[in-house]
């Protein structure tokens, strides 16, 4: 496992997370995440995969009583010692359901990472950020004539791409995705998956998925979590053809989960 990753952008060291004292939802997870790759986190419901993902941009701090311990290094910086708002700019997040800001136009949604943070940009810079971000998610051609329309007028798949563009606009080091296609239809899902594969040239993607075949289709590395424990972390191809742990095999063949 030590030599799995050559150039780690994110390093998790003995990360444990608990909702109630004495009971770890994520238990002592250590893993390095390869830069410019897609790493998927799989596992049955309640195994702690979303909990782990949300620790990386410190979302847990919004709710009292959740304790994160261990060390999380993002681009060499210990994020647990940083200002959470700074961490969140480095780690973009895409949610299960598309959630564009309902009162904002498509344009304003994409640039919202800057406006909400009070970062001043002149109009040319803004236009450029919006166009690049929307081109990155292959949405530019579909919406370039309706940038002033509300983001919520778009279809579900377009909305999710808009949300990805919104996260990418801040040029994060890593993109955290929490089952980003589970609310979308199969065709749209394929489209988003292709997009993720394209995007990994610019950004590292860590994706939680319920869907084993999705993980097999798009990810370079896979994690299998079970009851809070990181059971196996391997190259996806190796995990799906020759898992080393019995529990991974049981999950992949449908006997648990």
């Amino acid at each position: 496992m030590e030599n799995l990753v050559e150039d780690a952008i994110l390093r998790l060291k003995n990360v444990s997370i608990s909702y109630t004292p004495g009971k770890n939802a994520v238990d002592n997870v250590t893993a390095d995440i390869q830069k410019n790759s897609i790493t998927s986190i799989m596992g049955p419901s309640g195994c702690g995969k979303t909990t782990l993902l949300r620790a990386i941009n410190r979302m847990h701090e919004l709710y009292p009583g959740i304790v994160t311990s261990g060390e999380i290094l993002l681009a060499g910086k210990d994020i647990l010692k940083m200002d959470p708002t700074e961490v969140r700019r480095m780690a973009g997040m895409v949610f299960q359901r598309p959630n564009p800001f309902p009162t904002m136009s498509i344009y304003d949604n994409v640039i919202s990472g800057y406006t909400l943070n009070g970062i001043k940009k002149n109009n040319n810079e803004k236009d450029e950020i919006v166009e690049t971000s929307l081109r990155n998610v292959n949405l530019w051609d579909e919406v370039k004539d309706s940038l002033t329309k509300k983001g919520t007028f778009l279809s579900g798949g377009q909305q999710q791409r808009l949300c990805i563009a919104r996260a990418l606009a801040l040029k994060p080091d890593i993109l955290l995705m929490d089952e980003p296609t589970s609310a979308l239809d199969p065709i749209t899902t394929t489209y988003i998956e292709d997009l993720l594969v394209e995007l990994k040239n610019n950004v590292t993607i860590l994706i939680v998925t319920h869907n084993m075949s999705q993980s097999a289709r798009i990810s370079d590395f896979s994690m299998f979590m079970y009851l809070g424990e990181l059971v196996e972390y391997e190259r996806t191809q190796k995990m799906f053809t020759n898992p080393s742990d019995k529990r991974t095999e049981a999950y992949l063949t449908g006997r648990i989960g």
């Binding site: 979302m59 919004l62 359901r97 801040l170």
Partner: protein, 286 residues
Amino acid sequence: MKISRYRNIKNKALYIGVIILSGLTAVPLIAILVKVILKGWRQINFDFFTQTTPTTLDAIYAINAGEIIPGGIANGIIGMLLMVLMACVIAIPIGIICGIYLAENTKSHLASIVRFLTDLLQGIPSIVVGIIIYIWVVIPMKSYSAIAGGVALSIIMLPLIVRSTEETLKMLPTTLKEAGLSLGASYSSVVFRVILPSAFGGIFTGILLAVSRVIGETAPLMLTALGSSAVQWDVTKPASSVSLLIWEFYNDPNLQNMIWSASLFLLMFILILNIFAKRISNKWRI
């Protein structure tokens, strides 16, 4: 076979009963509207909105001559608008901020106390609010005033705005807030630029409903604004209100026709506010 027939009859009877009872709830409203319109419309003309209340003498002359009573309720309309405006200026910011606090801290101890107290405040009889404001504002200012009336109305509005803001914010999906924060935005920027705009429709509807609730308040104004027979723009002087005028018209046998027209005005005003509120909440639904 027999059982099912009996069941069908029972079903039908219950269904008809429900329809009749539901229809009955509309009867009082319609009866009031019909009565007020029939008795009040005759008095309503341009003067009704621009002139101040007539004196008893004017009314007696007009009645004896078989004419409609001259004058209008301009002093009441201006006073009412001024006092409601002041009440809004006080109650809206405080109510919205308190509502945000309650919606964001559902489990905190302080929030549950505040929520409980807000409910209590909502239950306080408006006349009691009037007495308190009499002591707090009228006595120190040594005069009845529109300010005192506005403060009294703001206290009645406050819990309504707090709770409607809280309920609206609770209906927003939590991922909206998380999406804002996940971009690294500060909490206050997410609240003011994402959450509040998204909840605007609900909050605005709540405000309109609170306004339409206090606009008909009479008892607290008797102890705070007192009344005025002239249009009074100075908010430190006693002021009138449409609801206060209805009470004054009631006390003067010669002005009784004016009760109906003033009531009609107030009813229509509140009805339009309510329809407006409903339309806005539909339009801004997310």
